[in-house]
Every structure is written in structure tokens, then in C-alpha cells.
Amino acid sequence: MFNLKKFIEALGISVIITIIAGFIIGFFEFPTVEGVIYINFIITYVTVGILMPLFNRKVPYTAAFLGAISMTLINIIFSINVLQLPIFVYPEIVNENLLASTIATMITAVIVVSILNRRETEAYD
């Protein structure tokens, strides 16, 4: 069964990891802003993809998909309210955002689920 409490816990942990990663990346001097954004993007959605199957073992793919979408929504709402960027004006950017984040999360989730399954069968043997 889908456990909402565990889902929220995993989302919170990935938010913490994003904040800490962004804080640490700020100490290094990257030549471009795009590099910082890409690194932070990869860290965020890979953590979502790793943590969601671990916390919701029964329904890993649903949890990973919902986690990716809610993480993107949190990012979009934050950038609209705090940074005052009108993102909803450009539908293509929202589409790209959702697509890229979902793909990154789902690929990680598939790999993590296969690793977990193999570990379980080895433990059973």
C-alpha cells in the first residue's frame, strides 16, 4: 500500500540533501551558472529516485513518479513566490522541466529497484 507518511519523509530528506548540496556547491567557483544548475538538478532527482523505492517498498515506481512531480512543483512554486520568475507564462519550460525530472527519477528508480531485488534474492538464498 502507498504510505503517505513515508512519502513525505522521503521528500523531506531529499529537500534537506538539496539544500546542503547547494550550500556546498556555493563554496566552489564554477565558471558558468548552468553547471551549478545541472549539478544541483542531478543531485536532487537522483536522491528522490533512490529514496522513494527505499521508503515505499510496495509501490516503488508510483512513489518515484509522484515524488518527482511534487519536487518539480515545489521548485516552481518557490521560484514564482520568492524569486519572482513568471514560469507559468512559458508552457514549454514547464513541460521540459517535468519531463527531464521524471526521466531522471524513473531511471534511478529502475536501477535501485533491480539492485534491491537482487539483494533480497541473495539474502533469501
Binding site: K5, I8, E9, A10, L11, G12, I13, V15, V82, Q84
Partner: protein, 222 residues
């Protein structure tokens, strides 16, 4: 209750010091720098003071599960909880506390024109949720919060008074020490972090004993 909370503070002093170095001081410094960023970068019509107050509130509520677990395990005479378990408590309940705090804070701020009644209700729920966050289902969390809110109702204002007064008292006493120096932004950040590491454990032990029903006979708490 105050004597008992000081006893717990005395017994677990080393653990509390390690926890403050690991969690309390970095969190406070981060929130202080974020407040500074909001104050310098946001315009006047974006209300930077609202963001600053939100960060101060969150700084207190996020730390409650950590010290609550320490107090409960001490009162139930359980085995020593390790540092990792306590810090995992902070990491685990981050999401739910933020998810409850953000909408209720917005509602409370918007409702401040209605004689501050929605503000009081929302801030009481924000204060009470971290004490009962350690349940399996979200419905149980709100059921327990509702029970405490029904029993205590207006006396929660006294607790707000205690929290705010202790902060202001210690802050004013502490800032007397470097009153006449040429002060920096970092001095205030560091002193704020030290004060938070000093008082938050005692406050949270006291509030835990007030709200959480602990029955040491049957070794369980409600």
C-alpha cells in the same frame, strides 16, 4: 516540571552539546544567513519580514522531535539513545513539519485581520504538531494534536509567552556583553546560534512534560 527538565539537561549534557554542534548551530546559522539574504534582496512589497519570522518559527519547530525523543527516552528509563538516532529523528520529520507549517503560517498571517483568532489557532497547531509527529499515520498525528488543543485551549498563550519571554530575556542579557563594541553581522549570527543551543533544550523538555502524557508504570506514552 522545571526542576525535572533541568535534571534531564544535566544528565545528558554531553549528548546535548554534540547535538547542538551537529544540528542546532548549523541550522541557526543557515536560517540567519537566509534571513539576511531575504532582507537585502527582496523589495519592500514582497514583505521580507514575513520570510524572516517564518525562518525563526521553523528554527524552533524543526528541533522539537530531536529533544522530545531524548526527554521521553529518559522519562521512560529506556536505554541510551545514540546520537545518530536523534539526528535521524530531525532528518525524518523535516518533511511533515515543513508541509504543515508553510500553509498554516500563510493562513495565520492572512487571518491576522480577524482579531488574531486564526493566527492563534494556526500557531498553536504549528507548535503542537512536532510533539506528536512520531505516529504511523497522519490522521493519528492530527487526532492527538486536536486532543491536546481541546484540553489546553487558552492556556497555550501562556506557553507562547514563556517561549518569547525567555528568548528576549536571554538575548538582552547576552547582548549586554558586546554592547559597546563595533559589531559585525557575524557576531549577531554566532551569538544567536549559541543562545539557541543554550535555551532550546530546556524549553523543549519543559513543553514535552506539559503536552506528552507519559505513564512510567506501563512504559508507554500517548
Amino acid at each position: 516540571m522545571i526542576k525535572e527538565s533541568f535534571r534531564i539537561y544535566n544528565d545528558h549534557l554531553i549528548k546535548i552539546l554534540i547535538l547542538s554542534v551537529m544540528i542546532v548551530i548549523p541550522l541557526t546559522l543557515f536560517n540567519y544567513f537566509a534571513t539576511y539574504y531575504f532582507y537585502t534582496n527582496l523589495q519592500e512589497d514582497q514583505y521580507p519580514a514575513m520570510y524572516a519570522f517564518f525562518l525563526i518559527v521553523v528554527n524552533f519547530t524543526l528541533l522539537i522531535p530531536v529533544f522530545k525523543k531524548l526527554a521521553v527516552s529518559d522519562l521512560l528509563d529506556e536505554d541510551d539513545v545514540s546520537i545518530w538516532e536523534l539526528s535521524y529523528e530531525f532528518i525524518r520529520h523535516f518533511g511533515l513539519i515543513m508541509l504543515v507549517t508553510i500553509p498554516l503560517y500563510i493562513v495565520g498571517m492572512l487571518g491576522s485581520s480577524l482579531l488574531f483568532i486564526p493566527t492563534f489557532i494556526c500557531f498553536s497547531i504549528i507548535l503542537l504538531v512536532p510533539f506528536f509527529v512520531n505516529q504511523d499515520k497522519i490522521r493519528d498525528v492530527f487526532k492527538k494534536v486536536g486532543r491536546v488543543f481541546r484540553d489546553e485551549n487558552i492556556f497555550l498563550l501562556l506557553d507562547f509567552l514563556v517561549i518569547v519571554c525567555l528568548q528576549v530575556l536571554v538575548w538582552s542579557l547576552f547582548s549586554l556583553a558586546f554592547e559597546s563594541f563595533e559589531n559585525n553581522f557575524y557576531v549577531y549570527a554566532v551569538s544567536r546560534a549559541i543562545i539557541n543551543a543554550l535555551i532550546y533544550p530546556v524549553l523543549i523538555f519543559y513543553l514535552t512534560m506539559r503536552y506528552v502524557n507519559i505513564d512510567s508504570e506501563s512504559r508507554r506514552y500517548l
